[in-house]
């Protein structure tokens, strides 16, 4: 494959992971971004590397693949770029899911039983074990499960580390470069016109996150990836108070839901800086970037149900990000059926940080006709949920 030129469109964590895989495989990689690397969705998430929130199925399998890959990838990066790998703040801290109602407890127990058959490690925590693991969590709980495989990274640093490794392997980064249109010849994409000139290559990878829908429309091969907004609150630095990623059992339901209205569920965890991150919300509001106090309030209400002792803790920052969402809740990884040479990787919604390395691995295996680490068919581009929406979906989405 030496000499094959690939342009990765988008320098978020998924684009960075793809650039790294492809550059290490010996391809000539250029990564372009209309802004700076890792500055949009990637820099506005929590850094989840989770298996706990996924039921049995292809997405869980991709999560498990990614979870296996992360430590390997970071070890490999550390050999070349020790500082960048350290900045990733890889923390296999484990997740704890807490139900606060009887119905929630039943649902959580059933969900976990399914996960166990799919090979997810889970462990039931009784009241004492929960109090020992999370001394400040509510005593008003009906069930709690520990997921030791859940981990966390500092997402922008993780993307930067993957990108730095790609650059070390010969990839080239072009920032402030906006893609305007495709240049095609006989049903094949041969180049893209950008704000800084024509870029030609053999393959193009659409890794533009929530802007993938818009970008693919510009390229003439639209995929239905839409933005869904999530908000996170950040507290002032605290003495250690939250020791795992702790979330309420509703979260799983919210992740899988398609509703456009506001949905919130409590996700609470500490960062190395001492702040507590309090999430999460999901709203389909197009690219509306405005702060909505009632959304923040709803997040606070849920979080306090889980951690009543946080009531006196000041929130010093809130940030919102747009997550790439596909109507059937499955990522897209594969070749475009309409435009030869175009590939898509995206649609991971809130799980893109964790799933980035597995998705990049699958993409590389598909591109280079290698045996794949898992069945990639569920993620194929030519499924109705992806191609059904057609052009202009992003605009229609604004509520």
């Amino acid at each position: 494959m030496y000499g094959t030129r690939v342009v990765v469109l988008g320098a978020g964590i998924v684009g960075c992971a793809c650039a790294r895989e492809l550059a290490l495989a010996g391809l000539e990689v250029t990564v372009v971004d209309r802004g700076a690397a890792a500055s949009a969705t990637t820099a506005h998430g929590e850094g989840n590397v989770l298996v706990s929130d996924k039921g049995p199925g292809p997405e869980l399998e991709l999560a498990q693949l990614s979870r296996r890959l992360w430590p390997q990838v970071l070890t490999a990066v550390a050999e070349r770029l020790a500082h960048a790998a350290r900045a990733v703040e890889w923390e296999p801290k484990g997740g704890i899911v807490v139900a606060t109602t009887d119905a929630g407890a039943r649902e959580l127990t059933r969900f976990a039983a399914g996960q166990r058959t799919a090979g997810v490690h889970t462990e039931v925590l009784d009241a004492d074990a929960l109090a020992d693991a999370e001394p400040y969590v509510t005593r008003e709980h009906t069930a709690a499960l520990h997921y030791p495989e859940d981990a966390q990274v500092q997402p922008a640093a993780a993307a930067a580390a993957l990108l730095a490794d790609a650059l070390a392997a010969g990839a080239v980064l072009r920032t402030d470069c906006e893609v305007l249109a495709a240049v095609t010849r006989g049903g094949r994409i041969t180049g893209v016109r950008t704000s800084s000139g024509l870029l030609e290559a053999d393959w193009f990878v659409n890794a533009a996150g929530p802007w993938s829908g818009e970008l693919s429309t510009r390229l003439g091969a639209p995929v239905d990836i839409r933005p869904r907004r999530g908000d996170v609150l950040v507290t002032t630095p605290l003495p250690p108070t939250v020791f795992h990623k702790v979330y309420d059992a509703d979260y799983v339901g919210a992740v899988g839901s398609s509703a456009g209205d506001l949905q919130t569920s409590a996700v609470v965890e500490s960062t190395r800086g001492g702040s507590v991150l309090v999430g999460s919300s999901r709203r389909r509001v197009g690219f509306d970037d405005r702060l909505r106090p009632e959304v923040l309030s709803a997040i606070a209400v849920k979080a306090l149900r889980l951690f009543p002792t946080l009531a006196g803790v000041p929130v010093m920052r809130a940030y919102g990000g747009f997550r790439p969402y596909v109507p059937d809740h499955l990522p897209i990884i594969g070749a475009d059926p309409r435009l030869t040479g175009l590939w898509h990787v995206g649609g991971h919604e809130g799980a893109g940080i964790g799933l980035s390395v597995g998705s990049a691995r699958l993409l590389r295996e598909l591109m280079l006709d290698q045996p794949t680490a898992m069945d990639p068919a569920p993620f194929r581009v030519d499924r109705p949920a992806v191609l059904g929406g057609g052009a202009g979906t992003v605009v229609e989405e604004a509520v």
């Binding site: 960075c16 802004g35 700076a36 690397a37 890792a38 500055s39 949009a40 820099a43 506005h44 500082h83 960048a84 900045a87 500092q154 997402p155 922008a156 640093a157 993307a159 930067a160 580390a161 990108l163 730095a164 650059l167 980064l173 920032t175 402030d176 906006e178 802007w211 609150l233 507290t235 002032t236 630095p237 800086g273 309090v278 690219f287 509306d288 970037d289 405005r290 702060l291 909505r292 106090p293 009632e294 923040l296 309030s297 606070a300 209400v301 979080a303 306090l304 946080l310 009531a311 006196g312 803790v313 000041p314 929130v315 010093m316 920052r317 809130a318 940030y319 919102g320 990000g321 747009f322």
Partner: protein, 494 residues
């Protein structure tokens, strides 16, 4: 009565003037300030509990201020909301442009049981002022190193002097009133150091800082301060600054050095002197989080970013006006003129009113003064030469110069947001209020690329973006959102 409801945020010279003219235009006014008394930083009042017999003593222009304060606060159409902070501005639907909804917390500073209130005014006047811009230098994090404004606030507002062997250093005419406040309170000021060289300062001002005839009020005030320095035999040195503070657990001595016009140090000119306090300010940073949250466009000047306003103090955001230091650093008289114009138009006043003419003149003189100020006290390009690898840039997170250089010097992490997340510079409790402009400037220099282009739809970056404008406790946030208040409700303390 125009029936309009105007919310004025900030009760300093600009906000108070805005409230006054909005009332004369016939509007109902809600005047909001985080302090428990009006006046802002300029007219910082003594606490009532001091029961001072002569509270006007440390004040400049007290009589006019006191009259205006009483007139505004006692006005039947004015609701005065002290100890109230704006924690968020909520922009209306992008489809229907309108004035942002104002989300407030009312109660003692950072108190846990504050009341949540919201306002849905017809017009909003932002007059939130500025704070000291302090450039980093080795040792600036030591206790006993104060932003100049702190020393003044403590002396004027609390009758506490920060020390008795005090050096005041930095740039701009503001150093003089700080010295005056300390001297008035009986402290000993060893010297006042203006980093700008004599030639630079003289080029900007006509000849001496206090001789700017066109700006009578301000230059008169500066002349008084200068006379005070002479009376107390305090040397005012130009082209010299503090390049290092030293001490064990607190400041004990400063290293000062002579500067070239670009603020690089003249080798061999270093001098060490024992001090017990150091007050520093290299200019001002306008408080831009609320204008940015409202969606107001900014304008970039050599002296930094400010809110862009038109002839009538309108911002780019319909129904939102800006006045005072957030539109340019020009001092209290200009802030008053701007505030008066902003309040009048926000209140629905007639644009042909004859009283506007002197106000506009005052405002324009103020802007000329601001330009002059910027020219006379430009920040020297070479100030990063004072830094060492281990010098702290972000005081909150203790991110040092070396780590900032490493992050922005690395292609993969050079994006402002990535560099911030990697170094943690700007992620601490002050939310980049102190280090933000410095990190942005260092980043631009080290990468050779100026401020980042904003991609449509992408979350806006920038050092002034703080959608949560003041900390709010989770418990306060979890309370149900109150419906908009009756704008005239609220106690009248006077």
């Amino acid at each position: 009565m125009t029936g309009r409801h105007v919310a004025v945020v900030g009760a300093g010279p600009a906000g108070l003037a805005a409230a006054e003219t909005a009332l004369s235009a016939g509007a109902r006014v809600t005047l909001i300030d985080s302090a428990d008394q009006p006046g802002g930083q300029y007219h910082r009042m003594l606490p009532e509990a001091y029961r001072a017999v002569r509270p006007e003593r440390p004040q400049h222009g007290w009589r006019d201020f006191d009259r205006r304060r009483r007139r505004v606060l006692a006005h039947p159409r004015c609701a005065w909301w002290p100890e109230t902070s704006v924690w968020a501005l909520e922009r209306p639907d992008p489809e229907e442009p309108g004035v942002p909804r104002v989300h407030l917390l009312r109660g003692p500073a950072d108190g846990g049981g504050r009341r949540r209130l919201t306002l849905a005014p017809d017009a909003l006047v932002l007059a939130v002022g500025a704070h000291d811009r302090v450039l980093p230098f080795p040792g600036w994090e030591l206790p006993g190193v104060f932003a100049a404004g702190a020393a003044q606030a403590l002396a004027k507002g609390e009758r506490v002097v920060v020390g008795d062997r005090v050096v005041i250093a930095g740039s701009g005419p503001f150093l003089l009133p700080v010295a005056a406040s300390l001297l008035e309170a009986g402290s000993r000021v060893l010297e006042v150091l203006e980093a700008g060289t004599a030639a630079t300062v003289a080029r900007g001002w006509s000849r001496r800082p206090w001789q700017l005839a066109a700006h009578a009020a301000k230059s008169g005030e500066l002349a008084e301060y200068a006379a005070l320095l002479i009376r107390h035999r305090v040397p005012y040195r130009v082209g010299r600054t503090v390049v290092e503070a030293r001490g064990d657990g607190r400041i004990e001595e400063v290293v000062t050095a002579r500067l070239r016009p670009d603020w690089s140090v003249v080798p061999g000119s270093e001098r060490t002197s024992p001090v017990d306090a150091l007050c520093v300010a290299h200019g001002f940073s306008p408080r831009l989080e609320l204008p940015v949250a409202a969606g107001c466009a900014l304008r970039r000047t050599p002296g930094g970013e400010f809110v862009a306003v038109d002839y009538d103090q309108r911002t780019s955001c319909p129904g939102v006006y800006a006045a005072g230091e957030i539109t340019g650093i020009a001092g209290a008289p200009a802030a008053r003129a701007e505030g008066a114009l902003a309040g009048w138009f926000a209140g629905g006043g007639d644009s042909a009113a004859p009283a506007l003419r002197p106000l506009r003149r005052g405002r324009d003189r103020g802007r000329a003064f601001a330009e002059r100020l910027a020219e006379a006290h430009p920040m020297g390009e070479a100030w990063p030469q004072w830094l060492r690898p281990e010098t702290i840039i972000c005081r909150c997170e203790e991110a040092d110069y070396a780590s900032v250089c490493r992050a922005v010097g690395n292609e993969a992490s050079a994006g402002a947001r990535v560099a911030k997340l990697e170094t943690r510079a700007g992620l601490g409790p002050c939310q980049a209020r102190v280090c933000g402009p410095t990190v942005a400037e260092l980043g631009a220099r080290l990468t050779g690329r100026p401020a980042q282009r904003h991609a449509e739809g992408a979350p806006t970056a920038g050092p002034h973006r703080r959608p949560i404008a003041q900390p709010i406790r989770l418990g306060e946030l979890a309370e149900p959102e109150p419906s908009p208040e009756d704008p005239t409700a609220g106690p009248h303390p006077l």
